[in-house]
Structures are given as structure tokens and as C-alpha cells.
């Protein structure tokens, strides 16, 4: 019976060809270095899940942000675990994405026909850094506050547009409730949406072109 249900669904959804295209595609001889993109994607999903769980208790308001995180760490069962995974996962993701980028650079995989995969990858790298930058402010402790003060000030030194950029980032001339709220929105909605879209394109191109061969002595 299961077989029939499977066949019925497969006729309409086409798992088999999906499976063949996504997971059973031909691969050149690869190494563990070729797994780093998938590892980055796994971390992105893990960050998404733990992040969703964190928003169940976290409050992005200057009055309560710090206390709500204190509560997650001490008041809720396994809050320390969920926050711990999200915290260390963030650092690990930046590192993995960066090493993945280095691997693509050293194997010269960014060349024709994969230039766009590389360009989209740059977008992915910047967006990943953006996640780190916006997430760092959310605990609203001293370190977070001053890191963001300095970080936004750096944007403020850009000629002509600097002052305006600084105000857009902070939601005004000073760090305030508006800053915290917009960093939160960027951290949980805007940047993840950008990341997901770019990852979709990235993966589409990888499947289309297939994995590049590792360079040989002749190359």
C-alpha cells in the first residue's frame, strides 16, 4: 500500500527526479573542503531555528532586552542551550562561510561559467556579516552598546553620505530604542530573507553547472 501511495504522490510531485537532480547528481572527485558550503547552509538553518525559539522570550526594547536575555539564560528550561547554540553558531557560520570562500578562491572555481555563483557568494558573505553585526546589539549590554556605537560611527566617516547613513542605521543621531528595534527587524526578517533568496540562486547555479573539478597539475 505504501508503495502505491508513494507512486501516486511521485507522479504528481516528482520526488524521484528531484532526488536525482538534487542529491544524486554526478560529482567530480571532491574533498572535505567541498562540504563547507553545505555546512554553511546547515548552520543557517540551525541559526534560523534557534533564532525563532529565542524570539519566544526575547524582547527588543531597551527596558527589557537585557532582562529578557537574563531570563532565557536562568529562568527557562534549556534557554542556555538554545542561546548557546545560536551564539556559537553565529561565530562558526562566519568562519565557515569565509573558509568556503577561500576554498572557492584557491581552487579557482569562480571562473567561467561560475562568475555569478561567486558574485552571489559575495552577497552571502556580506549578509552573513550583517547578521553578526545586527545580532551583536540585541543583548543590549555594555559591550553590545559600544560595539554598535563604534560600528555605526565607522559608517559615519564615509564622505558626503556618511552622516546620513549613520542616521539611517541608528534611526536618528544617537543609539536609542529605535536603533535596537530596527536592528532586530534587520536581524530576524530583512537579512535572513536576503540570505534565503541568495542561497536559492546560489544553489540553483551550483546544480546547473555542477561542482567544478579540483585543479590538476596541468591547470
Amino acid at each position: 500500500m505504501w508503495k502505491n501511495i508513494y507512486l501516486w504522490l511521485d507522479e504528481r510531485l516528482g520526488f524521484d527526479s528531484l532526488y536525482a537532480n538534487l542529491l544524486d547528481r554526478p560529482e567530480p572527485k571532491t574533498t572535505w573542503w567541498n562540504t563547507l558550503g553545505s555546512a554553511s547552509m546547515f548552520l543557517f538553518i540551525l541559526q534560523g531555528l534557534t533564532g525563532i525559539f529565542l524570539t519566544v522570550y526575547y524582547t527588543p526594547s531597551p527596558d527589557h532586552a537585557y532582562d529578557s536575555i537574563q531570563y532565557i539564560m536562568e529562568g527557562v528550561a534549556f534557554g542556555w542551550l538554545i542561546r548557546g547554540i545560536h551564539h556559537w553558531g553565529a561565530t562558526l557560520m562566519v568562519i565557515l562561510v569565509f573558509i568556503h570562500m577561500l576554498r572557492v578562491f584557491f581552487t579557482a572555481s569562480f571562473k567561467f561559467p561560475r562568475e555569478l555563483t561567486w558574485l552571489i557568494g559575495i552577497g552571502l558573505f556580506l549578509a552573513t556579516l550583517g547578521m553578526g553585526f545586527t545580532g551583536y546589539l540585541l543583548p543590549w549590554n555594555q559591550k553590545a552598546y559600544w560595539a554598535t556605537t563604534v560600528g555605526t560611527q565607522i559608517a559615519g566617516t564615509v564622505p558626503f553620505l556618511g552622516e546620513f547613513t549613520l542616521k539611517v542605521l541608528r534611526g536618528g543621531p544617537e543609539l536609542s530604542a529605535l536603533t535596537l528595534q530596527r536592528f532586530f527587524a534587520a536581524h530576524i526578517w530583512i537579512i535572513p530573507a536576503v540570505l534565503a533568496a541568495l542561497m536559492g540562486l546560489h544553489l540553483y547555479l551550483i546544480i546547473k553547472h555542477g561542482e567544478s573539478h579540483s585543479p590538476t597539475k596541468e591547470d
Binding site: 525559539f53 519566544v56 524582547t59 537574563q70 531570563y71 528550561a77 534549556f78 534557554g79 542551550l81 538554545i82
Partner: protein
């Protein structure tokens, strides 16, 4: 080597992936569920015996005012609420004690004892309750609420049992 009883390399990888994936899912998934439902598993823990004054300080026929504050902690937020009332002794007997809540039964203003008027007066809409808490005059729909459960400790302190809500 590839007899029908042997596991092929492919199947081995499939099974291992499934097991490892399932383990990771359980190790993260179960705590995550607990994390979500944790607040629902907490005891209220808000009921308490609250001392309101010395029994000997309460004179027969003269309502004895008291007040206390309860702090409620909900996650990272604390709300303090004030409560008050009057202990009324009707006779010498320690059993003959009536503990009234001073919250007006109309719209929750605080009533005050007035010796002149011989009653509890509400400043908001001029209601009047008698010494037993019954409505004498004004809009309140019912008598003042009573703290039913109270006791006198060995040291002669009157305590009331406070229930949340």
C-alpha cells in the same frame, strides 16, 4: 562480497545518516519543546499567609486598617500590587474576627473607615458600607469582600491567607 545479507555501502550511509540525523534532532528537539512549554509547567506559588497586625492592637468595634503589597514576577517583568483592608473585632472571642477587603465593590476605589459617619465611605461615588461591610448607600452591587481564611499565630499575630486573583 555483495551477498544479499551484506549491507551495501550506500545503504550503510543511508542508515547511518538517518540515525545520526535522528539523534541530533532528538538532542535539540526535545529540549526545544521543553523550552517552549516551560512557563506552563511553573507553579503559581503566589498563595501565602500574610501578617496584618497584632491581635491585641485591634480594639473591639474599631476597624483596624492594614495594607500589604504583593509582587508578581512574570518572566522579566515584575508588577507590584497593593492591597488593603480592615480587621473588625466584634467581641472578645478571637473567632469573632471579620477581615474586610477595602476595595470598593463598585469600581474598585479604596474605602476608608469614618468614625463620624460610623461606616466605610468610598470617595469615588459616595458609597457607604456599615461596619460589617454591608452596603448602606450608593451604587455598589454587593457587600465588601471578606478575607475568609485567617488565623492567629502563637505570637498573637493575625494572618490572612492570600490567593492570587
Amino acid at each position: 562480497m555483495s551477498g544479499s545479507n551484506e549491507l551495501s555501502r550506500r545503504d550503510f550511509i543511508k542508515v547511518t545518516t538517518g540515525i545520526v540525523g535522528g539523534l541530533i534532532g532528538a538532542v535539540i528537539g526535545l529540549p526545544a519543546v521543553y523550552y517552549l512549554i516551560d512557563p506552563a509547567l511553573r507553579e503559581g506559588g503566589k498563595d501565602a499567609w500574610i501578617p496584618i497586625g497584632k491581635f491585641d492592637d485591634m480594639q473591639i468595634g474599631v476597624p483596624y486598617p492594614f495594607s500589604f503589597t504583593r509582587v508578581q514576577v512574570n518572566g522579566w517583568e515584575r508588577t507590584a500590587s497593593s492591597f488593603g483592608g480592615y480587621a473588625v473585632r466584634k467581641s472578645d472571642s478571637p473567632d469573632d474576627l471579620l477581615v474586610l477587603n477595602s476595595r470598593c465593590t463598585h469600581l474598585a476605589c479604596t474605602v476608608n473607615w469614618s468614625a463620624e459617619a460610623d461606616g466605610f465611605l468610598c470617595p469615588c461615588h459616595d458609597a457607604k458600607f456599615d461596619i460589617a461591610g454591608e452596603v448602606v448607600d450608593g451604587p455598589p452591587p454587593r457587600a465588601l469582600d471578606v478575607y475568609e481564611e485567617h488565623r492567629i499565630t502563637e505570637d498573637g499575630i493575625v494572618e490572612i491567607f492570600f490567593k492570587e486573583g
